[in-house]
């Protein structure tokens, strides 16, 4: 990705292993194919089993071995996941807390990154470090004080505690990652804008944001996955059933019935996985690169 190889160097690398003829090569590659096969099986099989299970009836779970295919492909499990287990409400709550938080965090985070990296002032290095400092601290350290604050502000029982906490949690990494991208932008671009008479805010809006647009999308994706999959914060600040996010809802799923209803449970797990999987399939290169770049967080 980041390395650029000149053709002259690359050439011997691709031709060298081909020397021992076709059948010999195939035999030599066999262990590699075997490893890859086992690897794919380990990763993909649980997901396939999950999807198949989401169509089975309770009777099929209890009386048939695990490898049997569902007798009929009906969506009734998905229906009861939404009607009886409130998956729809949970999805809505997740959307209504994660997206506002994401939007605010990106907006103020990108602005701060611009202010820290493009503008010139004393102490900006220390402020960047200050933003990074909180990253290593466990979320448990924030729970009790925040719980107290939200309680006294009468925010418990609303979606605000989640939105506010998610926003704050997403800011450090956003600032840090976007600042890294701004560092790579040629200074001349901003100097030219200054000469043309643009003020700082105009420069931020018309040049800063468009220039790191791709970076913003990558950061947004990474933050989306981190927030969407959060359990700790959601578990702490959603006492009310109607405010639960997807993760908390799933966690309490088995408690909804006396005995486990396997079909609806698998359907609910599938719903929560399929959404992010589709998202990922379309944007996997960006997600991989972003998460690797964001890995500085602890």
């Amino acid at each position: 990705m980041s390395t650029t190889l000149t053709p002259q160097i690359e050439k011997p690398r691709t031709t060298a292993p081909r020397r021992p003829g076709r059948p010999g090569r195939l035999l030599r590659r066999l262990p590699v194919y075997l490893i890859v096969g086992v690897l794919l099986l380990i990763v993909v099989y649980p997901l396939v089993w999950l999807l198949l299970s989401s169509f089975k009836t309770q009777d099929e779970f209890l009386n048939k071995p695990f490898w049997t295919l569902p007798g009929q492909w009906s969506l009734s499990n998905y229906e009861s996941a939404f009607t009886q287990a409130h998956m729809g409400t949970y999805l809505l709550n997740s959307v209504l807390t994660v997206f506002p938080a994401l939007f605010i965090a990106l907006f103020v985070g990108v602005a701060a990154a611009f202010g820290l990296e493009v503008l010139v002032w004393r102490g900006r290095g220390s402020v960047l470090l200050y933003f990074l400092a909180g990253i290593m601290v466990p979320g448990q350290m924030l729970l009790l004080p925040l719980f107290t604050i939200y309680f006294h502000l009468h925010l418990t029982g609303t979606r605000w505690p989640l939105i506010i906490t998610y926003t704050a949690m997403a800011i450090p990494l956003t600032v840090f990652m976007v600042a890294t991208y701004f560092r790579a932008v040629p200074r001349e671009l901003f100097e030219a804008a200054t000469i043309d008479g643009a003020g700082v805010l105009r420069m931020f809006w018309s040049i800063g944001i468009p220039v790191v647009r791709n970076a913003i999308i990558t950061v947004a994706l990474v933050q989306f996955f981190l927030l969407w999959n959060d359990l700790l914060i959601a578990l702490t600040f959603t006492n009310d059933e109607s405010l639960r996010t997807v993760q908390v809802g799933l966690l309490n799923f088995t408690g909804q019935y006396g005995s486990v209803q396997y079909g609806p449970l698998f359907a609910a797990i599938s719903v929560s996985i399929l959404g992010v999987l589709v998202f990922y399939l379309f944007l996997n290169q960006r997600v991989m690169r972003g998460l690797a770049a964001g890995s500085v967080k602890g």
Binding site: V32, V43, A111, V137, L142, V287, K297
Partner: protein, 294 residues
């Protein structure tokens, strides 16, 4: 020119909001939590100053010590296995699959983005024995073994947890380390190959030393994540059976919200924070020394 880019009001306008939110919602609570750890009581019962009592209580509290031991043991095993497995995968991508590894990388990365709760529920079902037999026990029986209640025994639950966390994270460390391996200059590898180095020798003498920095930063990243493990345990075992998979994070959560003891909960959180800082500094310092030596 300098005046525009050094405009104090613009700096305040751009950096201010983020700085304010971050300070109020992250930094202030951290300090606040530190103060709490010297008090006992909760939101409803009121707080009393008790000095270092909570800290001495921690070291005579068997549940807390068990949780501390579990956290360290778990973090140690998973961190080493995570980075080792990721490194092996990265080597596979770079040296055996070469450029064709794109699809494999994408598929192995799948589990990284999946919600932990969903994955944990999935693994619960996979390792189940009754009333319905999951694939793992089904396969065991098929090979002539007998089904086991993995999640019902302390040892079994521990290893299912570790298997699950490795399943979830190996693709991530593979991609991270893959990027590090790509940064090794091709001509160094070529020169070693021309000198007759086999694959094993090449990895041991050239690739491993050159990828040491990215390996160590993966270790730091990994240990910080594993010491804070919460989601996967809450969803898979909820600390059971019998508290055998209870990490500090969950013990803190239960102390605070089930028993309403904010002071002691904060103390556990503080000890966890110290643990994270300690391990990070430890690995960081050994990084410095190794690079200086090499």
């Amino acid at each position: 020119m300098k005046d525009v880019l050094g405009d104090k009001r613009a700096v305040l306008l751009l950096v201010g909001p983020a700085l304010l939110i971050y300070t109020l919602i992250t930094i202030v609570p951290i300090g606040w939590s530190l103060v709490y750890s010297f008090y006992s009581g909760g939101l409803l019962s009121g707080m009393q100053f008790t000095g270092l009592d909570n800290f001495t209580k921690f070291f005579s509290d068997t549940t807390a010590l068990q949780a501390l031991w579990f956290t360290v043991r778990y973090a140690f095993i998973v961190t080493i296995a995570q980075v080792a497995l990721g490194y092996l995968l990265a080597l596979l991508y770079v040296f055996m699959l070469r450029r064709a590894s794109n699809l494999i990388r994408t598929v192995v990365f799948f589990p990284v983005i999946l919600p932990t709760v969903a994955v944990a529920l999935l693994f619960q079902q996979m390792f189940q024995v009754a009333p319905t037999t999951g694939p793992v026990n089904g396969a065991l029986e098929w090979f002539g073994g007998s089904g086991q209640d993995f999640l019902g025994s302390p040892g079994g639950a521990f290893w299912v947890l570790i298997a699950m966390d490795l399943w979830r994270s190996m693709g991530f460390y593979a991609v991270l380390l893959y990027a590090g391996l790509l940064d090794i200059p091709e001509d160094i590898l070529e020169a070693a190959r021309i000198d007759g180095a086999g694959t094993l020798n090449l990895v041991r003498r050239i690739v491993l030393p050159l990828s040491l920095p990215v390996l160590l930063s993966s270790l730091i990243f990994s240990i910080n994540g594993t010491l804070k493990v919460f989601d996967s345990i809450v969803a898979l075992t909820n600390g059971g059976p019998g508290g055998s998979t209870m990490p500090l994070t969950l013990h803190m959560f239960q102390t605070s919200f089930t028993y309403g003891d904010y002071g002691y909960g904060s103390t556990i959180a503080t000890i966890l924070t110290i643990l994270c800082l300690m391990f990070t500094v430890l690995i960081f310092r050994s990084t410095r020394r190794d690079i200086a030596k090499g």
